[in-house]
């Protein structure tokens, strides 16, 4: 194809997206669109399966049978969401094994929030309330993104995630209505998860490299800062309802803006964790890599068995 023809195709392509048409895997697409989507969808998928680890950490220690069942179901949903997203990514011509390879070698990123430790039961509440709350704000607009398989996966994910945040908030509610000791657990969890949750929306708009292109392709509908503000505005009243204090002395309602003003985010910490030096980056990666490596013989066995069965069937049919 000549450069001019490609240019022409690109224009038609961008026009289709502008008209709210969906792009499907076999449609022509610019290489950059493919690569950006592989990066974003896989990063999203990786976040789901790495996200299973900090919460999975508390399945065996959940304080009641009801909480145990809810947590198990939630972590299982995350596995399911990872699976939907890997499948969506695979339609772009990359295999799940390649995607894992990128994760395991550190080439691909996942949400940094999962590099923080879950040290008390209240952390499970805080993750559901804050982390899933932030994730929902990020994810809901993706149900309308331009790439069909991603949009469809997100519709399913969002539908299933609706119970996750409620599950977390209910834990926080029970703790804050409980004994002073329980309330202290809840406050401590909020103290530790508040700032990392704000960082989940990514760098400030001034620093963000992908925003403009992502807007055009409907990978984003609002900027990082807008989403962060939305999260703060909706979460602060929920903290008030719990009787907990958001750990930000500069937080105050701004009548003119109709929003909360908030204090400075520690971006040094953000970049430290992104670069692989958070409290649990190594543990998380080790857990993923060893699950994959220790499972190799199981996956091989299943393939070998399937091959034998297929051959036996052939022989039976031939005779």
């Amino acid at each position: 194809m000549s450069e001019k023809e490609i240019k022409n195709l690109e224009e038609i392509f961008e026009q289709r997206i502008a008209n709210d048409e969906k792009i499907e895997p076999k449609d022509w697409m610019p290489e950059k669109y493919r690569k950006t989507h592989i990066r974003q969808i896989s990063q999203h998928a990786h976040s789901e399966i790495v996200g299973m680890l900090p919460e999975g950490n508390w399945i065996t220690r959940a304080p009641s049978l009801r909480r145990k069942a809810a947590l198990l179901a939630k972590v299982q949903d995350e596995a399911g969401h990872g699976l939907y997203l890997y499948s969506a990514c695979e339609t772009l011509g990359i295999s799940r094994e390649e995607l894992y390879e990128q994760l395991h070698t550190g080439k691909a990123k996942y949400s940094s929030i999962f590099n923080y430790p879950t040290v008390t039961w209240a952390d499970i509440g805080a993750i559901g309330w804050l982390v899933d709350g932030a994730a929902i704000i990020n994810q809901v607009p993706l149900c309308n993104t331009s790439f069909g398989p991603y949009a469809r996966a997100m519709v399913r994910v969002c539908k299933e995630e609706s119970f996750h945040q409620r599950q977390g908030y209910e834990i926080m509610l029970t703790l804050s209505k409980g004994t002073p000791e329980q309330k202290a657990l809840a406050q401590d969890a909020l103290n530790r998860w508040w700032w990392p949750s704000l960082m989940m929306f990514g760098p400030t708009d001034a620093e963000s490299v992908h925003t403009e292109q992502s807007m055009k392709w409907k990978l984003k509908r609002k900027t990082n800062d807008e989403l962060r503000q939305q999260f703060i505005d909706q979460t602060v009243p929920q903290a008030d309802l719990l009787g907990l204090t958001v750990p930000d002395p500069d937080l105050k309602w701004n009548e003119d803006r109709g929003s909360y003003d908030f204090g400075a985010i520690d971006w040094d910490e953000f970049w430290q964790v992104v670069k692989g030096h958070g409290p649990c980056n190594k543990e998380r990666m080790n857990a993923r890599v060893s699950a994959w490596e220790n499972g190799a013989w199981v996956r091989d066995a299943a393939v070998a068995y399937a091959d034998k069965q297929a051959k036996a069937k052939e022989v039976a049919q031939a005779s």
């Binding site: 065996t60 220690r61 009801r66 972590v75 299982q76 596995a79 220790n294 499972g295 199981v298 091989d300």
Partner: protein, 251 residues
């Protein structure tokens, strides 16, 4: 007295599901593929559901107790699960073999209870559980075949798991006091009558999986009487951690 016997019998039903569910819960996020993670969690959730049904009913036999008191606040020697289900997740072959050995028994038990139990509540619990158990058994049998007749390595690992877990299979068929009471009251089966059919099924599947039936005639028991293996204390330390650290609170 009858309350006490019924309570003990419900513990025997619920404890197996609780402890095996706890073991499966440890695996979540660490399995060989996303798909197997999801499958094992489904089984854990089913077992946890069975546990809750049994313990909710059990707690009604004792005034002022909840399902969580029953699940979390007993001493090790008051748990009456069979030794098999507390065995650790050494590798996926252990996970599958433990599951399979349990599923064959559990399906027979639930089939009997759902058809015959004189206790309507137990009958209803079993009615739901029987469908779950049927699926679990199908899942674990399929994997027994894949591992047994897969690669050399998987065959060897399955062989090791079968050898290691085999001695824990006979305990199912040695009735505890509570199980004997249930049988005499028509609430539960005569477990000794399951034994022949159980080993017929298991041996047939092992043959299909190309794994020889272990010849070891020495069996372990004691779980039903609260005498557990060394693994149990650690399992309970996790299970009970919150309830023991923060007693008398609502979660």
């Amino acid at each position: 007295m009858e309350h006490q016997s019924l309570y003990q019998y419900l513990l025997s039903l619920g404890d197996n599901a609780l402890i095996l569910g706890q073991r499966l819960g440890e695996l979540c996020g660490h399995g060989p593929s996303l798909e197997t993670d999801i499958a094992c969690t489904n089984i854990a959730l089913d077992l946890l559901g069975q546990t809750r049904s049994c313990f909710q009913y059990a707690s009604k036999q004792l005034d002022g107790k909840t399902e969580d008191d029953v699940a979390f606040l007993r001493k090790e020697n008051e748990y009456t699960n069979v030794l098999l289900v507390e065995q650790p997740n050494n590798d996926f072959a252990f996970v599958i073999t433990r599951q399979y050995f349990f599923d064959v028994y559990q399906l027979m038990l639930m089939e009997w209870l759902s058809a015959n139990s004189a206790d309507e509540t137990i009958k209803a619990i079993a009615n739901k559980a029987v469908k779950e158990a049927r699926y679990h058994r199908r899942f674990s049998s399929d994997w027994m075949l894949r591992l047994g007749d897969g690669t050399e390595e998987s065959h060897q690992r399955l062989l090791d798991a079968v050898e290691a877990l085999w001695p824990y299979t006979q305990e199912f068929f040695v009735p505890s006091e509570a199980e004997a009471w249930a049988a005499s009251a028509g609430i539960g089966p005569d477990l000794t009558s399951f034994k022949a059919a159980y080993y017929n099924d298991v041996e047939a599947l092992l043959e299909q999986a190309t794994v020889p039936v272990p010849e070891n005639p020495y069996f372990q028991k004691g779980g039903k009487q609260g005498r557990h293996t060394e693994h149990m204390g650690y399992l309970l330390a996790d299970l009970q951690y919150m309830q023991r650290t923060y007693p008398n609170m609502t979660w």
